[in-house]
């Protein structure tokens, strides 16, 4: 799991080759904290097939908004600089996240 910030997001996510998963979280976001261990687990399992990144939006508010992320948590898949899939808030359950990962590495 690679922690990205407003300075590294461009290179590590938008310019990166292949597909990239981004876990958008924030300080004080309890559902984000509850989901994160699962995402770390999936990074262990699927990390060789998909790049895993996490972005603390509290420290990158403008960047998050530019990505149309205004509600947390969001787990998104990027490819060629575009968000091609995402799970937002209540839809971002561990089960749905794993299914989305499988869909994109399959």
């Amino acid at each position: 799991m690679l922690e990205v910030d407003k300075n590294t997001f461009e290179a590590e996510v938008l310019q990166a080759p292949g597909k990239v998963l981004v876990d958008f979280y924030g300080d004080g976001c309890v559902p984000c904290a509850a989901l994160m261990p699962y995402v770390h687990g999936y990074a262990e399992t699927y990390g060789d097939k998909l790049k895993f990144c996490a972005l603390n939006t509290t420290k990158a508010r403008r960047l998050a908004i530019s990505q149309k992320v205004l509600g947390l948590p969001v787990i998104a898949i990027y490819e060629n600089g575009e968000m091609i899939d995402s799970l937002v808030k209540d839809d971002a359950t561990p089960e749905n996240v794993e299914n989305m990962i499988k869909k994109h590495i399959g």
Binding site: V30, P31, G71, V88, K89
Partner: protein, 314 residues
């Protein structure tokens, strides 16, 4: 067949965790199943002022729930993370089927609580997470220095609106009546808060925007007059937070457990219409849905489960 528990508790909010604590202390084999995070509604609540004893410095919903979880586990309640897809609640052994496995128990305590009621305006679904939120602690930071609207007039709406004033430039409470329903002590604080404004007799009719929320139409319920509110040009967006009560999380039990408008009626001892099946917390038909009443329900339900098991021993 796998293990048959004495008690399975569905949901790890204040009702479920208290039921788990009491069942554990009664030395019943107990399993608490939760699909998401512990706490339910209070996990996203910033301030807890009205639960007796919850007066620690910096006490929040999550910190209170963390202590409840620890206490339940201390007395032996087991935990499972699973999403239950179907239930068979009749008969001596109840069966619960989740995505990870099947669970069996002699008694079941339904404590799956409730979820935030949608605002009820046109296009709402398109903008949840894109400007519409039901969780101030999750999303307040996105609206730092911007304008935010809060729908509702009860304790939660007013308290969360005050929390949002720490981030937003201006917070406007949109309420369908001409006075708040929140406790007087909360109202006093609210009316002193200079960042907090009020739009009375008003409901949100429609929301709109290009991917993110930038525009809404509000309606005066007395005159029928429609007013369009657009995001400040420099901001380019605004926030809309809904705190207008809850809907019960009971779809799973339909056709087995009796309900009234989705809520489960019980007697004073939390009995549902089914033997060995109890309901506790926000999903019950009741007059006050609070942490303190949820905890009380959980305690009573667990004690009734213990009694049921003792009475049914061969």
């Amino acid at each position: 067949m796998s293990k048959i528990y004495d008690v399975i508790v569905l949901g790890a909010g204040p009702a479920g965790l208290t039921a788990g604590l009491y069942a554990g202390r009664a030395r019943l084999s107990t399993l608490i199943i939760e699909k998401g995070q512990d706490g339910g509604q209070i996990a996203i609540t910033n301030e807890i002022e009205n639960y007796p004893g919850a007066q620690l410095e910096g006490e929040s919903g999550p910190s209170l729930i963390a202590r409840m979880t620890k206490q339940a586990e201390k007395f032996g309640a087991e935990r499972a993370r699973d999403s239950i897809k179907s239930v068979e609640l009749t008969g001596d052994v109840k069966k619960l089927v989740g995505t990870k496995g099947e669970y069996y128990a002699k008694t079941v305590i339904l404590a799956t609580g409730a979820f935030p009621r949608p605002i009820g305006c046109k296009n709402e679904g398109k903008f949840v997470g894109k400007g519409i939120s039901f969780c101030a602690t999750c999303d307040a930071a996105f609206f730092e220095g911007m304008e935010v609207y809060v729908v509702g007039g009860g304790d939660a709406a007013v308290e969360e609106a005050m929390y949002l004033t720490k981030f937003a430039r201006k917070v406007t409470i949109i309420h369908r009546r001409n006075e708040l329903r929140a406790a007087k002590s909360i109202q006093e604080k609210a009316f002193k808060n200079e960042k907090l404004h009020f739009m009375w007799d008003t409901v949100v009719d429609e929301v709109d925007g290009d991917e993110i929320l930038t525009k809404m139409v509000v309606k005066n319920v007395k005159t029928g007059e429609l007013t369009t509110i657009e995001a400040d040009e420099d901001d380019g967006m605004f926030g809309l937070f809904g705190f207008i009560g809850l809907l019960p999380n009971t779809a799973l039990y339909e056709g087995q457990v009796n309900m009234e408008n989705g809520y489960i009626p019980t007697d004073d001892n939390m009995h549902t219409n089914l033997d060995g099946v109890y309901a506790a917390g926000d999903l019950r038909v009741k007059s006050l849905r609070q942490v303190v009443t949820a905890a009380a329900d959980g305690a009573i339900a667990a004690m009734q489960a213990e009694k049921y098991i003792a009475d049914h021993k061969e």
